[in-house]
Amino acid sequence: MTASPEPAGPAEPAGPAEPAGLAGLAGPTGLGRRPARPLRLLLRRLLRTARADVLAAAGAVLLLAIVACALLAPWIAPYPEDGGTATHPTEALLPPSADHWFGTDQVGRDILSRVLFGARTSLFIAVAVLGLAAAAGVTLGVVAGYAGGWIRDVIMRVTDVFLAFPALLLSLALAVVLQPSVTTVVVALAATWWPWYARLTASVAQSVATRGYVDAARCLGVPAPLIVFRHVLPNSATPVAVQLSLDAGGVILTSAALSYLGIGVHDPTAEWGLMVQQGQTLFTTDWWVVTFPGLAILVTAFAFNVLGEGLRQALDPRGATR
């Protein structure tokens, strides 16, 4: 790989005469899966990527800021109690001011505080949905891709059935059957998202399964589950990781849509989609109620997307040599 800062391996057959070889002798011999300094290598690579792709770096920084807001909401929110059940009817619908930067909503809650608390809900939903969807989809996909034959056929047909439903409609149906709550949103969205991961992983794993090292492991008598875990899964992970970051924005948007339709999160939980829904009738008169949570959704989805795009380019082995 030309992107590697170190010189490539020396010519056949001599090993390196420089201290690196001796250090390797003295230090732990390399039976670990990772090279000796994974963190430093990763950081160096990240920095190099950041320099090359300013937009992705901006997305990453933005995302870190959003995560920080979510984690620190109780401490940095000007009116932490407004993130919960508090109401202040006398201060309803105040426009943005020094006291309330983003204004207040219909029951007098500080919108900045609720946007900060809303980040917790939205990010939790995104992480939970994608975690569940990826866990189910990647597991099934990797099994289908490695096993092939009828196992693959069965898994992929089930996946296709799920894909045949319009995602939002399936989520809606599930959300109506279950009680509206954060859990409901997570389950409903995960149920519509996993088939994409199953498909993606199956196609990647199928090509990984034909590589020489997989055949070699089979010939060495390594049991199939271990082959999948040790070779197929790690070598199929990159496109899945990229897809995850690209999807995170979409999940936040869809969960906002569910809340907006009134079947997701409900008051007094702060959630951006719900806040937009509650403020929409006021848009012409009190624009700030709907604008700021809407912007929060936009910015977060954007941050995830540019980061995902950057990851795709950085992790693509063909792109990495550019």
Partner: protein, 329 residues
């Protein structure tokens, strides 16, 4: 037809009474409905067996069947004389260690995310438990066997040269103490000087480890060095087999002759431009007839059966004429 005036066939390789470690018996292989290997029989013993043919001739597919990675459509793969498909569990595990592949192109043959040491150690833990220290010692020993510096164990494959990667692949195979190595184009991805060193290594390992080789290649020089017996495959069939030296010195099948003369030599005439590359449709005459300078009506109508000739087996109606030099460049 006149009897060719050739010297008597050289002595056949010594016949051992025990069955060969690995053999194919009338193996037919297919991907979907299309057969790619038709009833091939061969044996792998300590003398080394070569499998020669152009791309697409079915060599690699046959190798996958011999490795137990592909089930024959018909025919049998024999391990120590017993059908692989019916092996009891314990013998199956034994087979899994006894027959190991060395694939071409080291970078795809080694997991890019694993260190060289971890790749070599993979087979050590697959068959029995091994303490970490013993494993490390054994990996170092294997690396020394194939001429790799132990310090390279921590590296990933992309930080090794092509020759080093091929050595690592060989070390991984040797870890389980195999009796047969299936070498699929082991040197094709390497430049010539490195090729020679890998061949030296393979020759040395054969003596030291008592290995039998099945060598798959299009490079006749490689077969000449490592294999006492060779089989030439064309369009999924063995068209000529016999002692390697005889085959190369005086081919009896026009395809063997074409393969031999396709190798450019310094100072020699340039290789023939190749001409037609078609394979004749199955079921009607000799599959090689479209490319054969000697093809006549018999070849168009009747597929030649393999027949013994001068200590070898050849599937050609006009083999005697080929031996007599009827085909000129």
């Amino acid at each position: 037809m006149t009897t060719p005036s050739t010297p008597p066939a050289p002595p056949a390789p010594p016949v051992s009474t025990s069955p060969p470690v690995l053999a194919a018996d009338g193996v037919t292989l297919a991907y979907g409905p299309v057969p790619v290997v038709h009833g091939v029989s061969l044996a792998v013993d300590g003398g080394g067996t070569g499998l020669i043919g152009e791309s697409g001739s079915g060599k690699t597919t046959l190798a996958r069947a011999l490795l137990g990675l592909l089930r024959p459509r018909s025919g049998r793969v024999l391990y120590g004389g017993a059908d692989l498909a019916g092996l009891p569990r314990r013998r199956r595990a034994e087979f899994r260690a006894a027959v190991q592949p060395v694939f071409q192109d080291g970078s795809e043959a080694l997991d890019p995310r694993m260190s060289i040491g971890a790749s070599i150690a993979e087979g050590l833990t697959a068959h029995h438990r091994l303490a970490a220290s013993a494993r490390r010692a054994r990996v170092a020993e294997l690396m020394a066997d194939v001429g790799l510096e132990p310090g390279l164990a921590t590296r990933r494959p992309h930080r090794l040269s092509g020759g080093q990667r091929q050595r690592a692949v060989i070390a991984r195979a040797l870890a389980v103490r195999p009796r047969v190595l299936v070498l699929d184009e082991p040197t094709s991805a390497l430049d010539v000087t490195v090729q020679a060193r890998i061949l030296d290594l393979l020759e040395g390992l054969r003596a030291g480890h008592g290995l039998g080789y099945l060598l798959i290649t299009h490079n006749l020089a490689v077969v000449d060095r490592l294999c006492r017996t060779s089989h030439v495959m064309f369009a999924g069939r063995v068209v000529e087999s016999g002692p390697t030296g005889d085959l190369l010195a005086r081919p009896a099948h026009p395809y063997t002759l074409a393969l031999r003369d396709a190798v450019p030599r310094i100072g020699g005439p340039p290789p023939a431009a190749g001409g037609r590359t078609e394979i004749a449709p199955a079921g009607s005459g000799c599959p090689f007839r479209l490319r054969c300078p000697l093809a006549d009506d018999t070849c168009r109508e009747l597929a030649p059966d393999p027949r013994p000739l001068l200590g070898r087996t050849v599937a050609c109606h006009r083999a005697e004429e080929v031996l007599d030099g009827a085909v000129r460049r």
